[in-house]
């Protein structure tokens, strides 16, 4: 037998529902049947660790110097800690990010919005958290952009974050928003999250971690599922 230390389940009231009709694409892409709850087995409490380079390639922490010149836009440092629900750091886990450029345009070919591309900005990066669960990127503030969800719909400026954490059970993809953005209250994707939990996705400006005469700074701490207290035999 193997000792299993299960992770907490999805927190009630913290996550969106699959069907979030104001975000129209969920209407045909959400299940009708209820989820079937299963115990966490060895499959769910394990996950890849420490072989990130071989999988995704080397880390990219500076998104502003991908091309021959510098990316256009307001330079920002985005940093924070990856923690579990008990406040313990999640070390050695991959943090993947992607975002639009300063004009709100993605490098992706399917993004056909009429805003300029920046040849010196791709907008994707990945780093590994250190022993204290810390990560840090240098990038530029992404622009807001219109999308077809409803009349005059604009996505607030955001950075996509993808985290694996220690196990299959701790997987998280989220979006980081910026404080004071007037588009946040209007956005169906952000507001698919219960109102009490939405602020958890908004970064905070931090003067202490700015780089003088170079870059502003925003802090975004991310909380993954913690461990349940009771071990199970598997």
């Amino acid at each position: 037998m193997t000792l299993i230390l299960p992770f907490n389940r999805e927190e009630e009231g913290a996550h969106p529902s699959f069907l979030s009709p104001d975000y129209k694409a969920t209407i045909k892409r959400s299940p009708h049947q209820p989820l079937i709850r299963i115990p966490q087995t060895l499959t769910e409490v394990t996950g890849p660790a420490g072989r990130w380079d071989r999988l995704m390639g080397p880390a990219i922490a500076d998104l502003t110097k991908i091309g021959t010149g510098e990316a256009i836009g307001q330079r920002i440092i985005v940093s924070g800690r990856v923690l579990d629900e008990d406040g313990r750091p999640v070390p050695n886990t991959i943090v993947e990010v992607w975002q639009a450029n300063a004009a709100g345009r993605y490098i992706h070919k399917r993004d056909q919005w009429n805003a300029p591309l920046d040849p010196n900005f791709t907008g994707s990066g990945r780093v590994i958290t250190d022993e204290q669960g810390r990560y840090r990127f240098l990038t530029i503030t992404p622009g807001a952009y219109p999308w077809g969800n409803h009349y005059n719909a604009w996505r607030p400026a955001h950075i996509h974050f993808s985290l694996l954490g220690p196990a299959f059970a701790t997987r998280l993809v989220t979006q980081m928003y910026f404080p004071g953005d007037p588009l946040i209250p209007l956005d169906p994707i952000a507001n698919a999250v219960p109102a009490q939990a939405l602020p958890r996705m908004i970064s905070r400006f931090d003067i202490e971690t700015t780089q003088e005469a170079y870059a502003l700074s925003f802090i975004f701490d991310i909380v993954l599922r913690g461990r349940d207290a009771t071990p199970m035999e598997d």
Partner: protein, 213 residues
């Protein structure tokens, strides 16, 4: 206690950030499997750009292919399937699988990502996983844990791929929790020569079973 950070969709533009070249070939990591190079302008691809040479995983090679469908039965071209599985003898390449008596394979990690193509089809090349322990004294049938993500999927949809030609499915403790009429949605159908078909239906008739883990 601190609250969990909420889930959000990956949106339509994840292809230059998440699915790396070779990410859908867990056997050798070859070529562009799993990536969508057609969606990215030249010079902006940063994932695993060097295509490092590596060994070949041990075990029975299988290819699993299928279409991801929405509630109207329309294929979804902007989704991906993320995989996690044990190696051919049933060991996870994870610090949390401490069973030293079951061998690791230095050429197998068991984590992958497979984008759907313009027709909504994903293809995974891997080795059939060995059996791993389940609750109590049970053994699980060979399976691959999957997360399906896309624009319009606001939090991942978790499922499992089992293999229809495994007799031990009948004693699998997780399949046992699924109503018999819906179990077939979790079974990859053998087509011969190591090929399997596994379609994913997000909604409606024949809806794939999704799990709360």
């Amino acid at each position: 206690m601190t609250g969990q950070t909420p889930w959000q969709t990956v949106g339509p533009y994840f292809h230059y950030a998440l699915p790396w070249k070779g990410g859908a070939d867990l056997v050798e990591g070859k070529g562009e499997a799993g990536a969508r190079m057609d969606l990215l302008p030249d010079g902006h691809y940063t994932l695993n750009p060097n295509d490092q040479p590596r060994g070949v995983a041990q075990g029975q090679v299988v290819t699993i292919s299928g279409t991801v469908f929405d509630g109207d039965g329309v294929p979804i071209p902007d989704s991906f399937v993320e995989l996690w599985q044990a190696n051919a003898v049933g060991r996870y390449d994870s610090p949390d699988d401490g069973r030293e008596d079951v061998a690791l394979d230095p050429d197998f990690i068991g984590f992958g990502r497979a984008s759907t193509d313009a027709d909504g089809v994903f293809t995974i090349r891997t080795v059939k996983p060995g059996r791993v322990p389940g609750p109590g004294n049970s053994l699980q049938a060979p399976h691959i844990a999957i997360s399906v993500m896309a624009r319009g999927i606001i939090k991942r949809m978790v499922s499992r791929i089992y293999f229809a030609d495994e007799a031990c499915n009948a004693e699998d403790p997780i399949l046992d929790l699924v109503p018999p009429a819906r179990r077939a949605t979790l079974l990859a159908v053998p087509l011969g020569a190591g090929q399997y078909r596994f379609d994913i239906r997000l909604q409606g008739e024949g809806e794939t079973v999704f799990f709360d883990v």
